[in-house]
């Protein structure tokens, strides 16, 4: 079943290339829907009491190089898979409603991107993981570069062109990814006896020596931190976020940033336990710096896209913080927060499209008064905003609570610093909402209700937010076993030595 789900979006994309132009969007949308359907079944069939892999597939792929085609899901990945398919379905449906030019290539790339992302979440072989991780970049390179729009940029910054911004993004992320590739190969060759050994579970069962772990750890950390992006390696983010086509940015920001955080839980903690313990505080520092820097930047930006972008930096900081608390509650919170953030940031991006339709750009200082004739839009936007600032009662609040709880018990100082971030989040989220929806309406801006098709897609995502707020347990109880296993691996490893 997971195999079908994995390859279906790519197949749908290829079929979309063959059918007449008119039908291409709908073929892709049906493919994305079927993948979503399969993902829902995966969640329903998921057994919460098992810490190990479920639905595992294990085939030989390149025997001479020791690479296996190994897939499977566990409590950490199952909801990320669901998140991926939900957001991709939303983005594909959105693009089908508002078909871009050169639709066939667009939907092929979108399908390829979904397959690659699902592959990264499902892969249980280290090299297969790296392969899918790198493969994700190709479709986004084309999607951002070809369908992106020029952005006027800040004052004195000049116009930002999609092609330049995209190359910057790719170079940044691939530098990390290639280091990870080298690290992965080194891990497999050192661990293997004769033929390299890349299976994550077997690497975790018998980790490398502490000296090797120490340098390979940073190769992996580089890839994941750039992807998130974390503070200091976020340089590609502002340009890429401002030129990207928004429906694509919804899945990019909603899912791809999570692949980095997921990589820490899936690969780094189990495979490099000694290095994880050793560098725990360095990573916590980076996480706190991301939270504070992201939040502060988010409330100084005038571009709506950048508010969302920097808030992602802050949110991913929280997730990293939870993971590197190295405690079960922190890791549970991190998994929950990954899903939360994805499901919040995607409708926010789609709402930015609607705002741009009415105001001609994403500069929030030039918006205003949009709520006047659009109560539904205002209500949807308000729910998204509340979730973004993690108001008590939202699932985001639960996630951040778990994370901070974990960090408090592990390292108090980091938790105190991080909690400032929550207050800042309230400020930038409300500022975005107020500027856009309230205040006096400037000349040349029209307050219009959201169209029913767009409204249906956004409401679907908002319904997910509400559902999660009502019952976050659905994720927590399934993630608990696997997340606990991931962080406990670091403890038992060190105890064994």
């Amino acid at each position: 079943m997971i195999q079908v789900m994995l390859w279906l979006p790519l197949a749908a994309g290829l079929i979309a290339c063959l059918v007449p132009r008119r039908f291409a969007p709908w073929v892709a949308a049906v493919g994305a829907f079927l993948a979503l359907d399969l993902a829902i079944r995966l969640v329903v069939d998921f057994d919460p009491d098992v810490a190990g892999l479920q639905q595992a597939v294990d085939e030989s792929w390149i025997p001479d190089l020791g690479v296996r085609y190994q897939l499977g899901i566990d409590g950490i990945s199952v909801f990320l898979v669901l998140l991926t398919t939900v957001l991709w379905f939303a983005a594909t449906a959105w693009s089908a409603v508002r078909t871009p030019e050169r639709a066939k290539t667009y939907f092929l790339m979108l399908g390829l991107a979904e397959t690659a992302t699902l592959g990264a979440f499902l892969a249980q072989d280290l090299l297969l993981f790296v392969l899918f991780f790198d493969l994700m970049l190709i479709p986004f390179y084309f999607l951002f570069g070809s369908w992106g729009t020029e952005h006027p940029g800040r004052e004195g910054e000049g116009t930002i062109r999609p092609s330049a911004a995209t190359i910057k993004m790719i170079v940044y992320t691939l530098v990390g990814s290639l280091l990870m590739l080298a690290g992965a190969i080194a891990t497999g060759v050192i661990a293997g006896d004769g033929t390299p050994q890349f299976s994550i579970s077997e690497l975790a069962a018998d980790p490398l020596g502490a000296d090797s772990q120490r340098w390979i750890f940073w190769f992996f950390a580089a890839a994941f931190l750039v992807k998130m992006p974390a503070f200091l390696v976020h340089g590609w983010m502002p340009d890429a976020y401002r030129v990207a086509p928004l429906p694509v940015l919804a899945v990019f920001s909603g899912v791809l940033s999570k692949v980095g955080a997921y990589g820490f839980l899936r690969v780094v903690l189990p495979v490099f336990p000694d290095a994880t313990i050793q560098f725990q505080e360095v990573l916590l520092c980076i996480a706190v710096a991301s939270i504070l820097y992201g939040s502060v930047m988010a409330f100084t930006q005038t571009s709506g896209r950048l508010v969302a972008g920097y808030s992602s930096v802050a949110q991913l900081g929280f997730i990293t913080l939870g993971i590197f608390a190295l405690r079960p509650d922190g890791a549970d919170g991190a998994v929950l927060q990954m899903v939360n953030h994805g499901i919040v940031i995607a409708p926010l991006m789609l709402i930015l499209v609607i705002l741009a339709d009415r105001t001609g750009g994403d500069d929030v200082t030039r918006m205003g008064g949009l709520a006047m004739r659009a109560p539904v839009l205002a209500a949807l936007f308000l729910i998204v905003t509340m979730a973004l600032l993690a108001i008590p009662g939202s699932a985001n609040f639960v996630g951040e609570f778990f994370i901070l709880n974990g960090v408090f018990q592990a390292k108090v100082a980091f938790a105190i610093a991080a909690s400032i971030g929550i207050a800042l989040a309230a400020y930038y989220a409300l500022r975005l909402y107020q500027h856009a929806m309230h205040n006096r309406k400037p000349e040349g801006i029209e307050s219009r209700e959201i169209g029913w098709r767009e409204g249906a897609i956004v409401s679907g995502l908002v319904a997910c937010i509400v559902a999660l707020a009502l019952y976050p347990q659905v994720i927590l109880e399934r993630a608990d076993e696997s997340a606990t296993a991931a962080v406990e691996a670091t403890k038992t490893e060190v105890a064994r030595r």
């Binding site: 190089l65 493969l135 290639l178 590739l181």
Partner: protein, 517 residues
């Protein structure tokens, strides 16, 4: 001493060489009579297909030929197959090439076949004399081919430059061989290895000088830095199908011959050369990738990128393990496919725009010419080592080999080189997909230098054909050219998704070399 013992002649083992020689003569002769460009191309393809078929037939044989001067094994046959494939693609690309029209199709195709013959001999050589014969047989036709667009100054310059630098390389190599002969008293690889090995009477100084000069000579041929300076100029000046052929086939033959020379004959003194070759590899990776950054000419860019790629592949020889050699052979095959896929669009656009091989010629073809743009894109993504292509598997294989042999730093050098390379590969791709196609230039007299040079003026031409512009324009839509690109690109993807057959093929080639057998 009246009896003369002629060596046994193994016709089956020599059959690929014989087929090439016969094909060469036939094509040359027919070219004198038949003035139809398709007849020549067809005969050339038949000769190449026969050669490839015979090579596949001989696959798995391992024996000495011609009194031990040549070695028939999978490694040599792998080089022959790569060279014939590259030649076949080059033949298809050159069907309407102005240079081939000027030089005469028979001569042009004959030279290509002669060069393939040289490559086959070179890859099989296990004797210093046979090695040198193969190398010259490879090089001399290429000097001529580079200069075959006689009406274009750049082409003549390219041919002359290649002749001078190539001769310098050959002379250095030959001088080095003399020292090796002096040190070991033999020209035969096995005897050299024995003389240099423990208990042999090899002379250290002579061996060192000989090895160094042989390495320098081969570095000229395989365009390894710092002996690469000719590469971008020659690549840019030569007719593009010739460049495409040279970029892959010469590299394959030279690297495989280098592997055989160093790992068989000089294997016992590996400690003398491994650091030097590692330095060459790192220098090539650095120079190639940095040099390609600012290039606007795609042929120059691919020239520099080829230097870097040769550096990656040389790492497979440096590690001196079976896995290393297998990785190199795999990468050579993958590189052949992806580089040719990239060249096809350059050839096609060169004929239909005013911009020649400038990056502007490729702008916007993602919209207007998807069948050219996709193979180009796949080729460039593979060169940059993106997953889903054989380029990724090739890099994976090479890095695994370096780490396995405790040359991790060389693996990291490959990775860093790849990072730099993204900047120029992606620059081309963004021109292809993210820029609008430029408006065609107005036809002002003298305003389009390249096109005026391409046009043959009737009357005063010594060329057998006249090539009106309209023909050159229509030709670009030729299905054969596009088809060649699509095949290379499809194979690049196929071997990226299911690399097993190619891995097995490369493993067979790697295992066949004496030190690892």
């Amino acid at each position: 001493m009246t009896e003369f013992n002629a060596p046994d002649i193994d016709y089956a083992g020599l059959s690929p060489i014989i087929a090439l020689t016969v094909g060469l003569v036939v094509v040359l002769m027919v070219g004198l009579v038949a003035k139809n460009r398709f007849v020549n191309a067809y005969l050339t393809l038949v000769a190449l297909a026969t050669t490839a078929g015979l090579a596949i037939w001989q696959w798995g044989e391992q024996e000495d030929l011609v009194a031990g001067a040549l070695r028939l094994d999978e490694l040599a046959l792998a080089a022959a197959l790569i060279a014939t494939f590259a030649a076949a693609v080059a033949t298809v690309l050159s069907i309407r090439e102005p240079a081939a029209d000027e030089a005469g199709h028979g001569a042009f195709a004959g030279l290509v076949l002669g060069s393939v013959l040289g490559m086959t001999v070179l890859a099989q050589a296990q004797n210093l004399v046979a090695f040198f014969i193969g190398l010259e047989l490879l090089s001399i036709p290429l000097y001529v081919l580079c200069g075959s667009a006689r009406r274009r100054e750049g082409s003549l310059e390219s041919g002359l430059k290649y002749l001078i630098i190539g001769s310098l390389g050959s002379a250095t190599l030959l001088y080095g061989f003399a020292f090796l002969y002096g040190a070991s008293g033999s020209t035969d690889y096995a005897a050299i290895a024995e003389a240099l090995g423990p208990g042999g009477e090899g002379d250290d100084t002579l061996v060192l000088i000989g090895t160094a000069m042989a390495a320098v000579g081969l570095a000229f041929k395989a365009s390894l830095a710092p002996f690469h300076q000719w590469t971008p100029d020659v690549y840019q000046g030569a007719p593009t199908p010739v460049t495409a052929f040279m970029a892959v086939a010469t590299k394959a033959a030279a690297l495989i011959a280098l592997a055989r020379l160093f790992e068989v004959a000089l294997g016992p003194v590996a400690v003398d050369w491994d650091a030097a070759l590692a330095a060459l590899a790192v220098a090539s990776i650095a120079v190639g990738n940095v040099g390609a950054l600012g290039q606007d000419s795609i042929k120059r860019l691919l020239g520099y990128s080829g230097i870097a790629q040769a550096g990656y592949m040389l790492a497979g020889v440096v590690v001196f393990t079976e896995v290393g050699l297998e990785a190199m052979v795999f990468y050579l095959a993958a590189y052949t496919l992806m580089n040719l896929a990239a060249f096809v669009a350059v050839v096609a656009r060169e004929r239909e725009t005013e911009h020649g091989d400038d990056i502007r010629a490729l702008e916007g073809i993602g919209r207007s010419r998807p069948w050219l743009a996709w193979p180009l894109t796949i080729g460039f993504l593979a060169l940059a080592g993106f997953p889903g292509t054989s380029g990724f598997i090739g890099k994976l294989f090479l890095i695994e080999a370096t780490v396995d042999a405790d040359y991790t730093w060389l693996g990291i050098a490959i990775v860093i080189g790849t990072m730099v390379s993204l900047a120029y590969y992606l620059r081309v791709l963004s021109a292809v997909w993210m820029r609008p196609e430029p408006e065609p230039l107005p036809a002002i007299a003298g305003g389009a230098p390249l096109s005026t040079i391409r046009d043959t003026e009737p009357g005063e031409s010594g060329a057998p054909f006249e090539l009106p512009r309209s023909v050159a324009r229509g030709a670009s839509r030729c299905a054969l050219v596009v088809g060649a690109g699509v095949i290379c690109a499809a194979a690049t993807i196929a071997f990226g998704v299911y690399p097993d057959p190619l891995v097995d093929w490369a493993s067979a080639a790697g295992e066949s070399l004496a030190p690892f057998a």
